[in-house]
């Protein structure tokens, strides 16, 4: 592996970590700053959400009912233009300072040559999300 590709992977991992830090901070601007204009967000097995405006709207609507969230990063590593994240996403919806939802999830990120996220595919159990207070993941 060349130093160049190592550097690119490290840069991509840093971008993905910055994106996920945006979630911990419930800061949609910080999230979107890491994404391309034609960004695609796919919650398997739901419909994909395409374009920065719609992805922003979706993320903001997830943040709206959340008092706090924290993403535990179990694994983060990349190859080429891709980075995988294995996570435990913890959510507090009611402000009781407990995690009412703990979601086991893997997210695969694809990045452009200049290091922006253009595709994000999330794999998780959707019932696990909805039954413990997760809001709709479909744009209305």
């Amino acid at each position: 592996m060349t130093a160049n590709s190592d550097e690119k992977i490290a840069r991509n991992e840093a971008t993905v970590r910055a994106f996920l830090k945006g979630w911990d901070d419930l800061d949609v601007d910080a999230c979107m700053a890491q994404c391309t204009d034609n960004m695609c967000y796919l919650n398997q097995p739901l419909e994909e959400i395409r374009g920065k405006a719609d992805v922003r709207k979706m993320i903001a609507s997830i943040f709206a009912p959340a008092k706090r969230c924290e993403f535990d990063l179990i694994h983060v590593f990349g190859k080429g233009n891709r980075v995988v994240t294995e996570r435990l996403d913890k959510w507090d919806w009611d402000g009781s300072n407990t995690w009412q939802l703990k979601l086991h999830v893997c997210g695969m990120f694809e990045l452009t040559e200049d290091g922006k996220i253009y595709e994000w595919r999330e794999y998780y159990d959707n019932n696990n999300w909805t039954k413990d207070g997760g809001p709709s993941l479909m744009l209305v």
Partner: protein, 137 residues
């Protein structure tokens, strides 16, 4: 063994495991797993040990006419390998009744056997489309 050699070995055992699914061959699949294998279909309970995991794996294969796990991405780091997949299942001989998007994370031990296997997918999609039980009886 250098880190890149270890990763290459780990990716190879995971690919071998996935090929065993395509062959619907429980012995070949189980040969890739350690005695203390921990298998988790998130968010279900872990299934631990060769005997218990064989029961689940063989149980699924017994009800499968054909299987093909299409690998979209497969790469490793350290002791871990990720597989982003579209798993094709034929449970009734009438073609691919289920195409399940999935990510599997695999941990590989020093001896080069898979000791951790965590699959992330939508359980409703699995069970609504003929997927057999993922629980021990």
């Amino acid at each position: 063994m250098s880190e890149s050699e270890t990763v290459k070995r780990n990716v190879a055992i995971v690919r071998q495991f996935i090929d065993a699914w395509g062959d619907v061959e429980p012995d070949a699949a189980m040969a890739c797993l350690s005695d203390d294998i921990v298998y988790i279909n998130q968010p279900l309970d872990p299934v631990v040990g060769q005997q218990n995991v064989r029961q689940i794996v063989a149980g699924i294969m017994e009800l499968s006419m054909a299987v093909n796990w299409e690998l979209r991405n497969c790469f490793g780091h350290g002791n871990t390998v990720t597989t982003e997949r579209l798993d094709y299942w034929d449970f009734d001989g009438n073609g691919w009744g289920l195409k399940l998007p999935c990510i599997g994370m695999f941990d590989v031990n020093e001896a080069g056997l898979i000791c951790g296997w965590r699959d992330y997918f939508d359980n409703k999609m699995w069970f609504d489309n003929g997927g057999p039980t993922l629980h021990l009886d």
